[in-house]
């Protein structure tokens, strides 16, 4: 991974559902932390860590939820009694949560806040890098556009002002990077290409800084070897169930590796040196030790 990626302040990790966004975001975070950057990995599902929690030395984690992002915003931004009134008003909460895009804007506001050297959260330390474990691509691209949309709709007032500030940060390529995660399967690759196009259009075009091809299957057998295995399978009589299923496993893996090769080719044609590949890990679960292995591959 080029050291340049880690010199950003905000990295958005997005991609199709289930391709490994969370895994890659954490691996990137570990790699950045290992390179000495105080890093936080934040998602906006609001179902994980409610407080900034240290996961590994120099690596923190937070799950942003719109409700507390809003409370925090009101506390800091709105003077005295008005804030009090709004925070206590269930009507306002319902209004804010139901207004299209407002949840997203509030979350973006919090992510932006995390990436400021001067944190507005009382007593909070600054981070060198915020890695966002963003929602899946469609929603991920939409959320990147939310601040700009709000700035355009609201035009005046504190929300518009805040949205303008965030939008400016997002379109600053020195500050913000967008990273797409994909697997070498047809739909995820399609979605990655669509994401690239969606980001490139609109008033604040963005470019994918890197594309990470995650969970790439090993290509263990040559075509000749696969045919040899297939021939052996054909020779093995049916009762030898163990032998037959062993050979089938190898052939299934080979078939998948071949299919993946074609899809990986599409990504590499589109992204060239910006494409990085992480291997499929044959492990019972992906936890810190496995994440460290992936981080090692991503280290600057």
């Amino acid at each position: 991974m080029s050291p340049e990626l880690f010199s950003h302040r905000l990295i958005f990790v997005t991609g199709k559902g289930g391709v490994g966004k969370t895994t890659v975001a954490l691996a990137l975070g570990l790699a950045a932390a290992a390179a000495g950057r105080r890093t936080i990995v934040a998602d906006i599902q609001g179902s994980g860590e409610q407080q900034e929690a240290e996961l590994a030395p120099g690596l923190f984690r937070l799950s942003v939820d719109p409700q507390s992002a809003m409370d925090e915003y009101l506390l800091v931004k709105v003077p005295g009694p008005a804030a009090q009134l709004l925070r206590q008003s269930r009507l306002f909460a319902a209004f804010a949560m139901a207004t299209p895009g407002m949840r997203e804007l509030l979350c973006m506001g919090k992510l932006w806040e995390l990436a400021q050297f001067e944190r507005r959260t009382p007593d909070a330390d600054a981070y060198d890098l915020v890695v966002v474990d963003a929602p899946a691509s469609g929603h991920g691209a939409a959320i990147l556009r939310t601040p700009r949309t709000f700035a355009d709709i609201a035009q005046v007032g504190p929300i518009a002002h805040q949205a303008q500030t965030i939008a400016a940060t997002l379109r600053d390529p020195e500050f913000t990077a967008v990273v797409a995660v994909s697997t070498a399967e047809e739909m995820p690759v399609n979605e990655t290409l669509e994401l690239r196009d969606a980001l490139a259009t609109g008033p604040d075009p963005l470019e994918l800084q890197a594309v990470i091809l995650n969970a790439r299957y090993p290509d263990r057998f040559t075509t000749a070897q696969a045919s040899a295995i297939a021939a052996a399978l054909a020779r093995t009589p049916a009762p030898a169930d163990g032998v037959r299923s062993a050979l089938s496993v190898a052939l299934t893996e080979h078939a998948r590796a071949r299919r993946e090769a074609a899809q990986a080719q599409r990504l590499s044609a589109a992204f060239g040196p910006r494409l990085l590949t992480l291997p499929y890990l044959f492990e019972p679960a992906i936890e810190l030790p496995q994440l460290r292995r992936l981080a090692a591959e991503l280290s600057p």
């Binding site: 559902g17 289930g18 391709v19 599902q45 009101l74 709105v78 008005a82 804030a83 009134l85 709004l86 008003s89 009507l91 306002f92 209004f95 949560m97 139901a98 207004t99 299209p100 895009g101 929602p135 899946a136 469609g138 939409a142 556009r145 709000f150 709709i153 609201a154 035009q155 005046v156 007032g157 504190p158 929300i159 518009a160 047809e186 739909m187 995820p188 090993p218 263990r220 057998f221 000749a224 070897q225 040899a228 295995i229 021939a231 052996a232 093995t236 169930d241 032998v243 299923s245 062993a246 050979l247 089938s248 496993v249 190898a250 052939l251 299934t252 893996e253 299919r259 044959f282 679960a285």
Partner: protein, 369 residues
């Protein structure tokens, strides 16, 4: 248990699950299987892979179910099988179109409908906003429930977790129902008095925070909706009834990895709590057990087959044994938690799932054929 048993007596099957687990594939395979059993089935797919759509004979987003052609059906039946005795219909949901049609249907006049569709808030709502796919999928389901199908199979949009599908439409209908906002906008409204808050300062504070124009945009939007908000609310309630009905079956599609399995247990609990009918789970892409130590070594030798081939085979088996063991452990956990509720297992298949042959293969697994 096969999928047919699981759907006995149900008119609606909703395939939910996290992103990429196989919801669309499962929905299509269930449609095929039930049509083979003589049912008149409609499958509502969401963003299917192009080739999967083609395998079903679907060419484009098409907001009404179309009957699958005989030619396409022939590809969906094995050579030794009789032709389908039921009917298979399918469509690819177009969320924007569905939303527009809903507005057309509920608007007092075509002019009003056109005005609503031009409104900026509506345009956001019907396309950009998270949850519009979920909302329109349910809307479509509600609509088709009136039609003359024995079974509706609903695919659901990619989501982070299965529960998204339960929450997202509600958020949108709540907004369209406009409860909170309408009270706010009627300054001397009863709601305000009930809350014991003076409307003026609250509105002022709200302006301060949101900016005037946003508020007036919303005011304009709800002004246009007028009495339709009540209809949205009433509809939302009827949809809830439909989802809770015992003719409905939520079918959870999951992988056998550990977090998805934990989520599956949690999701079933959530459905219970909400009084929604859980039918069972499909654990997809299960890795078959791998026998170790029985690898035959009678592979050809010679320059094309280096001696390390056996070693490579063994490494391959060792790796897959880990996955098989992982899956077996997780499925066992699921069985314990489900205490007898149906669990269907579909193996990781070598064939390309996106063509007719792949769909047939999945269908055979689901229907125990």
């Amino acid at each position: 248990m096969s999928a047919a048993g699981l759907l006995e007596g149900r008119r609606i099957c909703i395939c939910v699950g996290a992103g990429g687990v196989g919801k669309t594939t499962t929905a299509a395979a269930i449609g095929i299987g039930m049509a083979k059993r003589g049912k008149r089935v409609a499958v509502v797919t969401i963003d299917p892979a192009r080739r999967l759509a083609n395998a079903l004979g679907l060419e484009q987003l098409d907001n009404e179910p179309v009957r699958i052609s005989a030619a396409a059906l022939e590809r969906l039946t094995a050579p030794d099988e009789p032709p389908l005795s039921g009917e298979l219909w399918a469509m690819m949901l177009d969320p924007k179109q569905t939303f527009d049609e809903l507005i057309d249907r509920l608007s007092p006049s075509p002019q009003r409908a056109a005005e609503i569709k031009r409104n900026g808030v509506y345009q956001q709502l019907s396309s950009a906003v998270a949850g519009s796919q979920e909302f329109t999928a349910i809307e479509k389901l509600y609509e088709l429930a009136e039609a003359d199908f024995d079974l509706l199979v609903l695919d659901t949009p990619p989501a982070h977790s299965a529960a998204e599908f339960l929450n997202a439409p509600g958020r949108l209908s709540a907004f369209l129902g406009g409860g909170a906002l309408q009270v706010l906008l009627r300054p001397a409204g009863l709601g305000m008095r009930l809350l014991g808050v003076g409307a003026a300062p609250l509105l002022k504070a709200l302006r301060l925070v949101t900016g005037v124009d946003l508020l007036s945009d919303l005011t304009a939007f709800f002004g246009l909706l007028g009495g339709m908000t009540e209809e949205f609310n009433a509809r939302a309630l009827r949809v809830q009834d439909l989802l809770r009905s015992d003719q409905t079956a939520f079918l959870l599609v999951t992988s056998a990895q550990d977090r998805p399995i934990e989520e599956a247990v949690w999701f079933r609990q959530t459905l219970r709590e909400r009084g929604m009918p859980f039918a069972g789970a499909v654990v997809n892409r299960v890795n078959a057990p791998v026998p170790r130590g029985e690898v035959p070594l009678d592979l050809p030798t010679g320059p094309a087959f280096p001696p390390d081939l056996a070693a490579r085979l063994d490494a391959c088996l060792a790796d897959h044994a880990v996955l098989a063991q992982r899956d077996a452990t997780n499925i066992e956990r699921l069985r314990t938690a489900f205490a007898g509720e149906p669990i269907l297992l579909v193996p990781e298949l070598a064939v390309d799932i996106h063509d007719a042959e792949g769909l047939l293969a999945i269908h055979r697994e689901l229907f125990d054929e």
